[in-house]
Subunit: 230 residues, 2 copies
DNA sequence: ACCTGAACACCGTTCAAGT
DNA sequence: ACCTGAACACCGTTCAAGT
């Protein structure tokens, strides 16, 4: 029986496909911000780059390593700011600028930020930012234990508040709406007698912005540092 | 041809399986804290309760609704504390107690907390806590817009810092180790000339605890409220 | 050295079929 | 009214087979 010439399986490397780490990370970042966290799958990323989903395992140990590397790329932008900051600025101004830039970053890359903010990449960008904050606080004359405590509090505060914002922003549209409605429904259907404070402040509650909250928290912390320096 | 009596498919409700909302949530909470966030799948939960994975769709719209309901159950414990708090305590003490209890909750249910902290459930427990914080701040004589701003900042701060801790605690053991090693490697392999501040504070950095950080952030905010009250 | 594609062990969810 | 089980459209990851 003559072998009918069916289209044979031909696994193997195709010509013209040269994957680089940089190209993968660029596309991953673009994909996740465009189509959301759930869209960042190996198969979708493979379609995007014209390769099989399993090709990435030659460049990253697993998906987590890929995501962390992409997040580190985002953090690079913060490290750039740190490098360019005028060293003659007062310590408080320097930290305020950093906090502001971190917030802006979480607004520019909500999806990626929501995936990485609670993780430690150990990358060079991260190290530079640690050195900057610690160096700035130490320059005020703060004792080592206090400088370290304020550094960690500043870092955790900025990361977690930006992270919260990014996480909410990166939620599936359907879930975001669900949560938004929950707020509206709370203040619409509240029994007056049981929730007097919530009712009395309903109008003001609608006006508060996330940015105000972030700034207040940072200022409260920096005030405390300033008072301790004396 | 006589039909051989093979074991026939017999879909349908089995006797003795009566699923309740409460039983589902109890088991979901137990499962997720015991085996981790990744273990909370409809199929695993089905095995746990001796029912098919699809049975839950008669009780919850989708998995997100199930998770949110389980998270609301955790929040109930905070509402209990709020209800039992002595109303004659100073406003600052009341808020400190709440902050402390929220932190403890994120330690007791890290997995569930990590799934819910950034979400708004709109449940009764949540409403009670909102009313408590807002009422406490308003009782200090703060203007409505300031009371609301401080309420939101207090809520976001406690939620996001506890959420960060819970998220890290609920990370896959393999990832947690990876991140922990990242820290160690940073301070072990740092070139002395480029990272003087990090090197100088390496010993102190190992000593800071998450709880200290949380308390400092809360105190900084409450100090600011106190100064504004005058 | 690097990529393919089948395969494995999973997911959430829908829906007709049962009791 | 409520549950089952097949089915669908997905996942991350491994590994032998290709170039």
């Amino acid at each position: 029986m003559p072998e009918t010439k069916k289209t044979r399986k031909r696994p193997g490397r195709q010509p013209g496909t040269t994957l680089t780490r940089e190209a993968i990370l660029d596309r991953a970042l673009e994909l996740v911000e465009r189509d959301g966290v759930a869209a960042l799958s190996m198969r979708r990323l493979g379609e995007e780059l014209g390769v099989d989903a399993t090709a990435f395992y030659r460049h990253f140990r697993d998906k987590d390593a890929l995501v962390l590397a992409a997040y580190d790329r985002v953090t690079d932008e913060l490290a750039d700011l740190v490098r360019e900051l005028d060293p003659s600025l007062p310590w408080r101004t320097r930290l305020e600028r950093l906090a502001e830039a971190g917030w802006a970053l979480s607004e520019r890359y909500p999806a990626m930020y929501s995936l990485g903010w609670a993780r430690i990449t150990g990358g060079p960008a991260e190290r530079e930012i640690v050195e900057f904050i610690l160096g700035t606080l130490a320059s005020t004359g703060l004792a080592a234990d206090r400088a370290v405590l304020y550094y960690r509090t500043f870092a955790d505060l900025t990361l977690s508040l930006s992270g919260m914002r990014a996480t909410v922003a990166a939620l599936d549209p359907a879930l975001r709406e669900k949560d938004a409605n929950a707020w509206t429904n709370i203040y619409a259907a509240l029994p007056q007698s049981e929730y007097p404070a919530a009712i009395a402040h309903a109008a003001e509650l609608q006006r508060v912005t996330e940015t105000e909250i972030y700034e207040l928290a940072i200022q409260a912390l920096l005030d405390r540092v300033e008072r301790e320096i004396g």
